[in-house]
């Protein structure tokens, strides 16, 4: 299973093996990553699973949808060029080793 590392705002790191096919948000919530809320259940409606993707990896992802782009304008913590909604990132072999940084706030 691909592993994904979550960098918490307090500097701590958590790394988990996450099954292919689920979203990064679902993988985070299932492993109890407190900094991801995922309130709408992955429907790209709430922007509470905001992450900053490691800069060298962001370009290798499929481009974001217009919905995701719009929602990122409404995140609780500032949007940055490497902002994504983790419910829109599917876990595949290709994202193995991904490092995502969690914002200060989701709500």
């Amino acid at each position: 299973m691909p592993n994904i590392t979550f960098l918490n705002p307090d500097g701590s790191r958590q790394t988990f093996d996450i099954a292919e096919g689920v979203s990064v948000m679902q993988g985070a919530v299932a492993n109890g990553v407190g900094g991801i809320v995922g309130e709408c259940g992955g429907n790209a409606m709430c922007a509470t699973c905001h992450v900053y993707v490691d800069g060298s990896q962001v370009a290798s992802f499929p481009p974001m949808s217009a919905d995701e782009d719009a929602l990122l304008d409404g995140t609780a913590s500032d949007r940055k060029p490497n902002s994504r909604l983790s419910c829109q990132i599917r876990v595949t072999e290709a994202v193995g080793g991904l490092v995502v940084e969690l914002p200060e706030r989701q709500i």
């Binding site: 689920v22 679902q26 109890g32 709408c40 992955g42 922007a47 919905d67 719009a70 304008d73 709500i107």
Partner: protein, 407 residues
């Protein structure tokens, strides 16, 4: 709260679960007992009418957290129904006959389906509120060719579009004259009517089910409509709204008025008992009268607000309400409470499939309904949260970038 006087939460839906979670996130160290009358681990409801009905039936994506989470976080799940509250002794009685002492009690008891009252045979009417109901419907859909939906709320219409995607014939019955009448303006109703009709849904307005009988062969049912028409169908899904679960509160003498009445701190008329979620009527800065709201946003925001109070960081509940519905490929998002709307401004064109309706009372912006235009929704949320408005003339210009109002 000590082990002998735990914090007891009745109901493990979005509100109850979120409260337990938020308490631990707020470093609440006392004992938490979560009374769950569902036969499953606490799970999310919105995916039931969406991904779950379409998917392979796997329950893992539905549960809020895996089992280990509850023991790690010392959230004790108690599988039972709460039957009665003894406020004097600060105890609740559970379905198994056991009693549970509480230091503070939280009612997150939700709502239940309004049931179809017309005569019908057992088993032909389905609901989409609980996982058990939806699992049963999912099974029956495997052999269905024709489905009938009563009610045009979010759930009924989400199911209707899911049915068309599966290639089923879908008839929808609505007592009123337009779709989602209690929730949206006529502009939105009209748009979704055209979309659903184009996808092949048959609508019957101004009528209701008068009776359902077995017949028509192949184990099918015949529905008689009040105005005489008959429909042959394999199953009926009723989405005609819900009633709040107030019996437990009312029988304990708490004030109930269209829901369990709470103040701005989400306290009931007994200071030792709070209530949150779909079951409560509460004051809000966004309406002139206390309201009851059925939504994930309201359930979880109230849970977080109450958790803060229970750890001594209380502030009145003032969250801005917002809602969403996915119907076919269309995304409807609503922010604000728009019941008192007396004037609407259309932004963009329904013909393009992407537009918003700005709802005003006089010049004051009450809320925004957006179809396939998430930017308006997101920015609108921010504007309304700040207590701002949008000049109706500016709103009407689709080229006006709403975001500039936040700068």
């Amino acid at each position: 709260m000590t082990e002998a006087n735990p914090l007891v939460i009745v109901g493990a839906g979005h509100a109850g679960f979120q409260l337990a979670l938020a308490l631990r996130q707020n470093h609440y160290d006392g004992s938490i007992k979560l009374v769950n009358n569902e036969p499953y681990a606490p799970y999310q409801r919105p995916p039931l009418s969406k991904a779950y009905l379409k998917g392979d039936g796997n329950l893992a994506p539905l549960v809020f957290r895996p089992k280990a989470f509850f023991s790690e976080q010392r959230i004790e799940l108690i599988p039972a129904k709460a039957e009665a509250i003894d406020r004097g002794k600060k105890k609740i009685r559970l379905s198994a006959g056991a009693e549970l002492q509480y230091g503070h009690l939280v009612l997150a008891v939700g709502a239940r389906n309004r049931e179809l009252r017309s005569p019908h045979e057992e088993g032909c009417i389905h609901y989409i509120r609980t996982l058990a109901e939806t699992a049963c419907l999912k099974e029956r859909l495997l052999s269905a060719r024709h489905v009938t939906v009563e009610g045009t709320g979010f759930i009924g219409l989400e199911f209707a579009s899911a049915g068309r995607r599966k290639g089923l014939i879908v008839d929808v019955i609505e007592l009123g004259q337009r779709l989602m009448e209690r929730a949206v303006t006529p502009e939105i109703s009209q748009f979704f009517l055209r979309r659903h009709e184009r996808s092949g849904v048959n609508f019957h307005f101004g009528t209701e089910v008068a009776g359902i009988e077995r017949g028509g062969g192949d184990g099918r049912y015949t529905i008689a409509l009040a105005q005489g028409k008959k429909i042959e169908t394999d199953l009926v899904v009723a989405g005609i709204g819900v009633n709040p679960n107030t019996e437990l509160a009312a029988s304990a003498g708490l004030v109930v008025n269209g829901g369990i009445l709470v103040d701005q701190n989400l306290s009931t008329s007994d200071a030792n008992i709070s209530a949150i979620g779909d079951c409560v009527v509460f004051p809000t800065p966004y309406a002139t009268k206390p309201v009851r709201i059925e939504s994930v946003q309201n359930a979880t925001d109230q849970a977080r607000c109450l958790a803060a109070r229970l750890v001594g960081k209380g502030a009145p509940y003032r969250s801005l309400p917002w809602f969403w519905s996915d119907q076919g490929s269309d995304k409807l998002q609503i922010v604000g409470l728009t019941h008192d709307v007396d004037r609407t401004v259309l932004r963009g064109s329904p013909e393009t499939g992407s537009f918003s309706v700005f709802c005003y009372a006089g010049d004051r912006l009450l809320g925004i309904e957006s179809v396939n235009w998430p930017a308006d929704h997101v920015v609108g949320r921010e504007i309304l949260e700040r207590g701002g408005s949008v000049d109706p003339k500016a709103a009407a210009d689709p080229d006006f970038v709403l975001k500039t109002l936040l700068e």
